[in-house]
């Protein structure tokens, strides 16, 4: 089943005379249960693509369907609801509300959707066990380490059972050990919860946890590779090779 379908997606910045084509006709399909990574050098359009796909920004041309629904036709109100119910987000800088405890942060999307307190408790219980964050539930974000905060954010992203989770450089602000733990967690969500995940990263190591990686450069999809039966190490090597041919951006993270 196709969860996300994008065709001919364009994004143009600037006005006449000074146009910058950030995305140039992107076609993309993601099936349920996939774990897709998007890589590319700085300025390739990774973040623009994620913003457009995740309804935070509007494309200039083409269409995007999530679960068969064309998101370009939704009103502001419907969009907010759609985001709440169908999408989950994990951001580089966690984006947890510092006035709420971890538990409250995780429950927030459900509370906003007016789901009963009982149901919230139930789901919270399950998710926090899965992500091993039961012990930190009553703490405030500033009392938590980066890794704990990001796992809290991941719990918030998954709790509403979204059709699609967007992760924007989720390991960007983490040390390598926490990054590894988080990527394990995300993989776990993908495997155990059948969560469909789209992750943008410039880190080849992080990308190697995905099942499929798309490479974009100058606003177009340059190529894509599947992990298939390869080991993570082999897949990592394949990613590095492509990045080398991709060039351009110049800075990649190596291990």
């Amino acid at each position: 089943m196709v969860v996300l379908e994008a065709a001919g997606v364009k994004k143009v910045y600037g006005e006449r005379g000074n146009i910058h084509l950030a995305l140039n006709s992107i076609d993309l399909q993601i099936a349920a249960g996939e774990f897709v990574g998007i890589m590319g050098p700085s300025g390739a359009g990774k973040s623009t693509l994620l913003n457009v796909l995740s309804t935070i920004d509007l494309p200039t041309g083409g269409y995007i369907k999530i679960n068969g629904k064309n998101i370009m036709n939704l009103s502001e109100h419907e969009l907010a609801r759609f985001r709440r119910e169908e999408l989950g987000f994990i951001f580089q800088d966690f984006n947890l509300l510092d006035t709420l405890t971890a538990k409250e942060n995780i429950s927030l999307p459900l509370a906003l959707s007016n789901i009963s307190a009982k149901e919230i408790e139930k789901r919270l219980d399950r998710i926090s066990k899965l992500l091993e964050i039961e012990k930190i539930l009553n703490k405030y974000p500033y009392e938590l380490s980066g890794g704990q905060q990001q796992r809290t954010a991941a719990a918030r992203a998954i709790i509403s059972n979204p059709s699609l989770i967007f992760a924007d450089e989720p390991t960007g602000a983490l040390d390598s050990k926490s990054a590894y733990n988080l990527l394990q967690t995300i993989s776990l969500l993908n495997e155990k919860e059948d969560a469909t995940i789209l992750m943008v990263t410039h880190d080849a190591y992080a990308a190697s946890f995905c099942k499929r990686v798309l490479f974009i450069k100058d606003g177009v999809i340059f190529t894509e590779i599947y992990k298939g039966e390869q080991s993570r190490k082999q897949f990592f090597q394949a990613i590095i090779d492509i990045l080398a041919t991709l060039g351009g951006g110049g800075h990649h993270d190596f291990i």
Binding site: R84, L100, E104, L108, A117, Y140
Partner: protein, 645 residues
């Protein structure tokens, strides 16, 4: 780049921030100057026959305004410098000496201060005319207010504000020395602290304090302790209310919110989750400001409600103190004919009744009756005359025996206490009269030399040889409120200058309702102006303090709202969230103020024996209206800032 250029750039790019500081300063100057210029307005002073009576009120109000302006500017300055700490830290990082930065801040504040002083004076000059016209209208004086500049007012304003400006400038100069570089850089990034455990004890205490304050002040006015500890009781009651108010905001409101958090069905419903936690943080950071606003609003409601009640009760109060339109000791034949002629000119049909009564004037020893000046003569009224007057005033008569007397209400604020019964007045060496009863109404107009007591007819005859036997003429006129000319002519007839001295008047009685009624209108007109002015200023200042404080918080909260939008909060949910938070914050001081002032007005109204309900409700209504304007203004701006995030 020179320091000057740097400062100039900063001002140009942050115009908005500087304006936010400039407004309160200009506002304070305008208010202060306007008030001072009214205080020194020659026209008002000249037209006020009762100026010396209201001067203390003017003085007190102007001192109050000064302190208020100082506090307001101090607050705005703190607010302003806080938002600039980062900029100051940058200067320091660029390698500018501390002394230079200090100087920069000092001069900047001086320039801003002087600028607002000039702008404020200019606008104040324009506005003061408007206010002068308003004040005269309220006082019932028909003079066209001329735009006359009071040098004294300008001087007083300049001196007062120079003081404030210099002090704040010095404070700013010290800013860079008071904080380390790190503190300055991190000024805005303080991060939210974990809310402290809220003690239920403090919450309970707040209710206890307020309740006790209310109970004390609501004690019936004949309660015994008022006589002995009246002043202490009132101060104590106010203190309890003040402490209770602070605790109420600090603990009680927070406690309720904490409790709401524990009701999961409520807490995890829609935007409640965020609004309750946000409120906890907002209120915690604003305890002082909310308490101050509560108390300022209380003060405003009480002072305006009281003066407004008195103003609208002038008719009643005047009638109570001056039951007869005209009352005078019958003079010699020639003068009396002239007076009667004047009254006839006013129209015979206007006369409701006229009565001539006999009375006896004696120089009794009033030392035991401490309420009346000793130089007052005792006015002895025979029982028959008393019966006639009591019937006209629709009062029941009290029987007395020889040697006994009835005393009457003498303008005492609390008319129900009886300060007379049991006391005796030696009239001559051998005759003494003892006051056996007290009536809570005025038998004769309350005026100079009028201290009437009623004695039996037989006792009256007995004393006749020892005192001065005289006659009192009383008139009740239908048009007593509009006999300006008659009043002036009578005044001229009875004495040249009615306010020159007691002595010139002789111990003859003359009293007119009209004269006193208009005196009341002048006094209360002026008082109502002062209290409305102060009330309006307080409301404006309190409202804008809260307004700006909340808006800055909205700016620092922008990232939070951004997150909320990303995880799927719709615009309407956001608006509801903000409206919910703000209404609670705005309601807290309002509820407290209305509750406090209602109780105090209730006590006051019982004490003064006049009804204050309607004027007070009107006061609350208009206050609510202005307050609502602030709420919606803040709401719309807050929502705009939040959705920009």
């Amino acid at each position: 780049m020179t320091l000057y250029n740097l400062a100039k750039r900063n001002i140009l790019r942050n115009t908005k921030m500087y304006l936010l500081y400039l407004y309160p300063m200009v506002f304070s100057v305008i208010i202060y100057f306007t008030f001072a210029s009214l205080q020194y307005n020659k026209q008002i002073i000249d037209s006020l026959t009762i100026y010396d009576k209201v001067e203390p009120a003017f003085q007190a109000a102007s001192i109050l305004l000064f302190f208020f302006a100082a506090a307001f500017i101090w607050f705005s300055n703190g607010f302003f410098t806080r938002s600039r700490k980062k900029e100051i830290a940058l200067y320091s990082l660029f390698g500018i000496e501390k002394k230079k930065i200090g100087k920069l801040l000092f001069y900047e504040n001086i320039i801003l201060g002087l600028g607002s002083l000039f702008i404020g004076l200019f606008l104040g000059i324009l506005l003061s005319k408007l206010f002068a016209m308003l004040i005269m209208k309220l006082m019932g004086i028909a003079i066209i207010a001329k735009l006359s500049l009071s040098i004294q007012a300008i001087l007083q304003t300049v001196v007062s504000f120079s003081l404030i400006i210099v002090i704040t400038s010095l404070h700013n100069f010290r800013l860079i020395y008071r904080h380390s570089l790190l503190q300055l850089i991190k000024a805005e990034k303080k991060g939210e602290k974990k809310p402290k455990k809220i003690s239920w004890l403090a919450a309970l205490l707040s209710i206890l304090f307020i309740g006790m304050g209310y109970t004390i002040i609501l004690q019936p006015s004949d309660a015994l302790f008022w006589d002995n500890y009246g002043f202490q009781a009132i101060i104590g009651s106010f203190l309890m209310m003040i402490i209770g108010t602070n605790l109420f905001v600090r603990a009680f409101v927070m406690y309720i919110l904490e409790k709401m958090k524990q009701i999961t069905a409520v807490y995890y419903k829609g935007v409640n989750l965020i609004s309750i936690t946000h409120l906890l943080h907002r209120i915690k950071g604003n305890v002082l400001i909310l308490s101050v606003i509560s108390l300022l609003s209380t003060f405003t409601l009480i002072s305006f409600g009281t003066t407004f009640s008195l103003y609208s009760n002038i008719q009643e109060i005047s009638k109570k103190n001056f039951p007869y339109s005209i009352m005078y000791t019958v003079p010699d034949e020639e003068k009396n004919t002239a007076v009667e002629k004047l009254i006839m000119e006013n129209g015979q049909r206007q006369i409701e009744f006229s009565k001539r009564i006999e009375y006896l004037q004696m120089d009794g020893d009033l030392s035991e009756i401490s309420r009346v000046p000793n130089e007052f003569p005792v006015v002895l009224i025979p029982e028959t005359a008393y019966h006639f007057l009591a019937e006209k005033l629709e009062k029941k008569v009290i029987p007395i025996n020889d040697g006994e007397a009835i005393a009457f209400y003498d303008g005492n604020l609390d008319q129900r206490t009886d300060p007379f019964t049991g006391k005796s007045i030696p009239l001559t060496d051998s005759q003494t009269v003892t006051i056996a009863a007290y009536e809570d109404y005025a038998l004769l107009n309350l005026d100079i030399y009028v201290f009437p007591i009623v004695i039996t007819d037989s006792f009256f005859q007995q004393l006749k040889n020892d005192g001065l036997s005289m006659e009192l003429q009383l008139y009740s006129l239908k048009n007593e409120k509009s006999i300006k000319e008659l009043d002036q002519k009578l005044m001229k007839l009875f004495y040249v200058d009615p306010y020159a001295d007691f002595a010139t008047k002789g111990e003859k009685i003359f009293s007119s309702f009209y004269h006193n009624y208009h005196k009341f209108i002048q006094v209360y007109g002026l008082l109502i102006f002062i209290s409305a002015f102060l009330g309006f200023v307080f409301l404006l200042a309190a409202g804008s303090m809260l307004h700006y404080k909340l808006l800055t918080e909205a700016t620092t909260d922008q990232p939070r709202y951004k997150i909320l939008k990303k995880i799927g909060m719709s615009k309407s949910q956001l608006r509801r969230l903000i409206a919910k938070q703000l209404i609670v914050i705005y309601l807290i001081p309002l509820v407290i103020a209305i509750s406090h002032s209602s109780i105090i007005i209730l006590a006051l109204s019982a004490f003064l024996g006049i009804s204050m309900v309607t004027p007070f409700l009107i006061t609350i209504g208009s206050y609510l209206l202005l307050y609502l304007v602030y709420y919606f203004l803040t709401l719309s701006k807050y929502t705009k800032i939040a959705s920009e995030g």
